[in-house]
């Protein structure tokens, strides 16, 4: 591809995000690359490893207790994307701290840990324990709060929908995380995402990640019923790129907080669009499922151009 004249960002150079310097601006998104440990021996003709040039692997969201997730089927492909209903299947916070994080550190994988909890205040103790367990880890760079989960303590509504709750989550985590980057991942399923970003900013976040998946549904024509057992799924992939770009633009213009762009990135050009709007970094989700080297290839393509 030919590169636009305005483009001059070094995506594979370190950059400062809050208290922490991260090694690059192209990351993998939570939930689409597991804990980052399944592909480290994979090979490709054009890329040394799936981590090459990556700024971070955002690990699959972990919850205080492990989860078995939702019934199958959990995925539907649509013409330009997919719906997922994984239901946050994960190994649980303890196993994550005991086995996953040390392995990432040993492999030297730059890591941002995605967390979900059952109440805003539960994030504080989780972050504190993470901090203790990862003391001295050189490759653990930050925490991303997944705020799109039902808030059990407050009636099952999404954490993510209320600015006040977003603020409480961020404040609880920030208090325990002075020296690593803190990100809040916002849901697009609201009328005004800028309010959420402002709340996160005021509560001390270093950046917001936008966007998580969009609520969608597909019908199984054989039965006439929703294809996913829980009816709704999270819509991701190229189809949501224009929606993600709109939300990122709104936040950049309206909230004055650094933004990590997520949603629909499958090619270097897609990532460029987020950077053009002012995103400080990007995450590759669904495309990483098809190609374990997707983010690395995007980083390489964008890196080559800025260094030439």
């Amino acid at each position: 591809m030919t590169w636009p004249s305005w483009w001059n960002l070094e995506v594979t150079a370190p950059f400062q995000l809050g208290p922490r310097e991260l090694p690059g601006r192209v990351w993998t998104a939570s939930g689409c690359f597991a804990y980052g440990l399944h592909a480290h021996e994979f090979t490709a003709a054009d890329c040394p490893t799936p981590y090459a040039g990556l700024g971070a692997v955002v690990t699959k969201t972990v919850t205080p207790v492990s989860r078995a997730g939702n019934p199958m089927p959990r995925l539907v492909e649509t013409p330009c994307g997919a719906l997922n209903s994984i239901g946050l299947e994960n190994v649980g916070f303890d196993a994550f701290l005991d086995t996953v994080l040390p392995e990432l550190e040993a492999l030297g994988v730059p890591t941002v840990v995605s967390l979900a909890a059952t109440s805003p205040e539960a994030f504080g103790p989780m972050v504190r324990r993470l901090h203790e367990a990862a003391k001295g880890f050189a490759h653990w760079h930050g925490v991303e709060l997944n705020l799109s989960c039902p808030n059990v303590a407050e009636g099952g509504h999404d954490f993510g929908g209320s600015p006040a709750t977003v603020a409480r989550c961020v404040a609880a985590a920030r208090a325990e995380l002075p020296d690593r980057a803190l990100l809040a991942k916002l849901t697009p399923n609201v009328a005004d995402i800028v309010q959420l970003a402002v709340a996160a900013r005021d509560a001390g976040v270093d950046a917001v990640s936008a966007i998580n998946t969009v609520v969608g549904l597909d019908v199984d024509l054989r039965t006439g019923r929703p294809y996913l057992p829980r009816r709704f799924g999270g819509y991701s992939g190229p189809a949501i790129l224009p929606i993600a770009l709109a939300k990122v633009d709104q936040i950049v213009q309206g909230a004055g907080v650094p933004v990590v762009g997520v949603g629909g990135i499958a090619a270097p050009e897609d990532a460029l669009k987020f950077f053009a709007l002012g995103a400080v970094a990007v995450q590759v989700g669904t495309a990483q499922m098809r190609d374990p080297f997707a983010a690395a290839r995007i980083a390489r393509a964008l890196g080559q151009c800025s260094s030439s």
């Binding site: 939570s30 090979t43 490709a44 995925l75 499922m289």
Partner: protein, 290 residues
């Protein structure tokens, strides 16, 4: 189960040939830009390259991989396989593989009973090619005689068909399901002295597990599930397995697709028990995964 798997590569492929080898099975041969090794039972994720790629690649068992050419056998069932069937020589593909847990290697004291149903043939076919010994038994079942890839199978495979139509001259086939053919074979190994390797539709796998249980044989099955990534990262392909008497989710793509049939409640093996703890967040609309 079988020790070290060959590590996977994300290869770029070019179609060498792609066409019907029977009335229903297509064979695709793809030249890859990287060396490619595999163990029988493993699969590859395949997709078109470039802007026409589908969101998710599709899993196909590996039939063979020699001199940088990967071969699969497939049936057209939907949009991805229809698109695949339309590709001509030179078309660009992306290939990720080999992936998944292969079939175990042979045991000296046990004969192998290979059971392949329809496009479940590749993994058991590849097993026989790689590991087969004179005393092993190979059975293949298809819907009718026209569907059977006779040239590929040669003489070693005994064939069953649901309906006798389409049998080419000079070929014979048992009419009935492939497990019935196997069960009625005069030269079958005795109680406890065989291992079944099976791949095919659900009913075939259930019948295979049942046959093995009755004969005291070990039984390995290769499962099919919908897949997103094929390499263990999305949790989109889980199957229920029994571990220590409890049922938990295992990824079909990474812990499988080959499983010991006795671990699979869905094949009628152990009695299902409740799920392992689901954590303290209720199911429902969940972050990125409502």
């Amino acid at each position: 189960m079988t020790g070290a798997r060959p590590s996977a590569c994300a290869a770029v492929g070019a179609v060498r040939s792609n066409g019907l080898v029977s009335s229903a099975f297509h064979r695709l041969d793809v030249e890859l830009d990287l060396p490619f090794d595999f163990l029988p039972g493993q699969f590859a994720m395949i997709n078109e390259a470039g802007p026409r790629a589908w969101t998710f690649s599709r899993p196909f068992s590996i039939l063979a991989a020699e001199d940088g050419v990967l071969s699969i056998l497939y049936r057209v069932v939907g949009r991805g396989t229809a698109a695949l069937a339309a590709l001509g020589p030179g078309a660009a593909l992306q290939v990720l593989g080999p992936l998944g847990e292969p079939f175990p290697t042979p045991q000296a004291d046990r004969a192998a009973v290979l059971l392949g149903g329809g496009v479940g043939l590749p993994p058991v076919f590849a097993w026989l090619q790689r590991w087969g010994r004179p005393g092993d038994h190979a059975f293949f079942g298809a819907r009718d005689g026209g569907e059977v890839p006779w040239d590929l199978l040669g003489d070693r495979w005994r064939v069953s068909v649901d309906r006798g139509e389409g049998l080419p001259g000079g070929r014979t086939a048992f009419t009935g399901v492939v497990t019935a053919l196997a069960a009625s074979a005069p030269d079958l190994p005795s109680h406890g002295s065989a291992t079944v390797y099976a791949c095919g539709p659900g009913p075939l796998l259930r019948a295979a597990a049942d046959l093995a249980r009755r004969r005291g044989w070990t039984c390995w099955v290769s499962l099919e599930e919908h897949m997103g990534c094929g390499y263990g990262v999305c949790k989109g392909c889980v199957v229920q397995v029994a571990d220590d008497g409890r049922i938990r989710n295992a990824t079909c793509c990474f812990e499988g697709p080959v499983f010991d049939a006795t671990r699979l409640p869905d094949l009628g093996s152990p009695a299902p028990v409740p799920h392992a703890a689901s954590g303290d967040i209720p199911p429902g609309s969940c972050g990125g995964a409502p």
